[in-house]
Assembly symmetry: C2
Homo-oligomer: 323 residues x 2
């Protein structure tokens, strides 16, 4: 039925005209492939994330926020490698053509794409249950990038920003927590619009020994670092950076559990050798991003949580994490 | 629930160990991003296609064929640009973890990935309605690539292979056509396992003036070429390459409609200037791919169908095409 083709061509009209122009995009949307060029001294970082309705977001999530978040979570992957955002493809599956929804979704998507200079170079629009897959491409100086596997014994463990806000924001949206006013707006916004630490990641390239973004909660994500690096880690939970909005809207125990296991913070977790601490202060001061030392890499392969130097067991909040 | 994370980590085990190794993949699956390197005199071609259950394939499609086809349709996009396949990401959404299905799907995917030297460098596995999004990356010599927009007045129009088999194959699967034995197997296989014309595309890079892959049927896809090139076209339907399996299992009128409007052939449609016809014969003879001249580019912006030099109107078979 030609009607369906035409209908889905309409979807494309929300995206083709708005794409960021970049000199390295030789051919953008409109042919069978896009063609991009790379500076000779660069490598390409590539990552891919899917958001599925009723799994990663609820049907009532504002479309503008969903557009924003779809790209933000991919940018966070680039940030954790220290890569500079460049190009993306968008695979958008929708049950029907809803022009209001599409206008809002694309507005949120392009808001963050323009901020970070990401060109939309291609994609596919299909009919089906609502889902968004973005594949993002970034650039890195050749042979310089952050990975999960470089942490060494004695390196200090840091995180950017504050932890746990997003998970409390989600609980508020699910009516599992009651928070009103500005605090509610702040916490829900931290869930709907995570800040990818793109500039911080780039500034850490030659300073950090390892880095990862916190998508499943710090307790889960640090396991990837210590496993890949064949190390252990001690985290001082009393040092975890908590926002005042988190602290004043839940108990102290719950706040720590949100911070340790809540997930979707999209902050960076990274490790820095003692000798690089001065360089770190200077580099992150320039970006204006808050960062906090929360523990230290050790040998032995285990993760140890300490609260004021005593063993600590977090309250299990039973968060569901899907890959 | 940690159980769900573990379950989906199991999915990844079907893909991580099997990935093709390539020297230009600095870092493959397992970190936040993959990192790849590009030769200084190359550009990158990027394309993205989604297959959704009950839209692009039926639940009873053999998983091995689905794995094969998911990559084949993306490779066809690279073929139409003349690009050499390199890397892919796979976003796989599944309602549940079915190990038999996963083993078969990954077997089909890696069968074609290994044949064309494509490295799986990353992806995302999520819970949800079954869908597959592959983003493919290919390499092109800088400033040399096939597009839809270069057709000139008088250029000859060609297609590779034969047309219409896939659409009759689909009708057989839907019980809209009754074909048995080897012909059935051939036609269904043409639907389930299209042959991306990767080598033919590369050999056409400096010979063809435009190219596109035939995904929606030649009548629809040639519109993209003449619109992009600001030209018209005459197609001689009596010259369309039809397989003997198509011809002997349907009427002459129906066979032409399958070939013109059926879609999913994933053959290449390309245009060649008169002066390049000799070069074309030599180049495609080396690849062993059948190619047929089916018409000519003209001015005026219209598509004209002729059957033995008389105006021709195809039977409307009402194929549904989704983008």
């Amino acid at each position: 039925m030609i009607g369906i083709v035409k209908e889905f061509q309409l979807i494309e009209s929300f995206f083709t005209g708005r794409a960021q122009s970049r000199k390295d995009v030789v051919m953008g949307i409109g042919d069978d492939c896009a063609i991009v060029q790379l500076n000779a001294n660069k490598s390409i970082a590539i990552s891919c994330d899917t958001l599925v309705e009723n799994v990663h977001f609820f049907p009532d999530m504002p479309a503008k926020d969903l557009g924003y978040k779809s790209l933000a979570v991919n940018l966070s992957d680039l940030a954790s490698m220290g890569a500079e955002p460049a190009w993306m493809t968008l695979a958008l599956t929708l049950p029907e053509v809803d022009e209001t929804w599409l206008a809002e979704f694309s507005e949120g998507l392009f808001e963050i794409a323009e901020y970070y200079g990401v060109a939309l170079i291609g994609g596919d629009t299909t009919r089906g249950p609502r889902a968004i897959t973005i594949t993002i491409n970034g650039q890195l100086p050749k042979d310089v990038g952050l990975t999960r596997c470089g942490a060494k014994n004695g390196d200090w463990i840091y995180v950017t920003g504050s932890l746990g806000d997003s998970a409390l924001g989600l609980d508020i949206l699910r009516d599992k927590a009651a928070v009103d006013g500005e605090d509610r707006a702040y916490l829900v916004n931290r869930h709907y619009r995570p800040t990818p630490r793109v500039l911080a990641g780039q500034s850490l390239r030659t300073i950090a020994s390892s880095a990862i973004d916190i998508s499943d909660g710090i307790m889960s994500d640090i396991q990837h670092v210590i496993k890949s690096s064949q190390m252990g880690a001690v985290i001082n939970v009393d040092r975890l950076p908590l926002s005042e909005q988190l602290v004043r809207n839940t108990t102290a125990d719950m706040a720590l559990s949100y911070a340790l296991t809540g997930g979707e913070d999209y902050e960076l977790l990274f490790t820095v050798p003692e000798a690089q601490k001065g360089a770190l202060e200077m580099a992150l001061a320039e970006t204006g991003v808050r960062f906090t030392q929360i523990g230290q890499i050790c040998t032995g392969g285990q993760l140890t949580l300490l609260n004021e130097n005593k063993p600590f067991e977090p309250v299990n909040l039973g968060f569901e994490h899907f890959n």
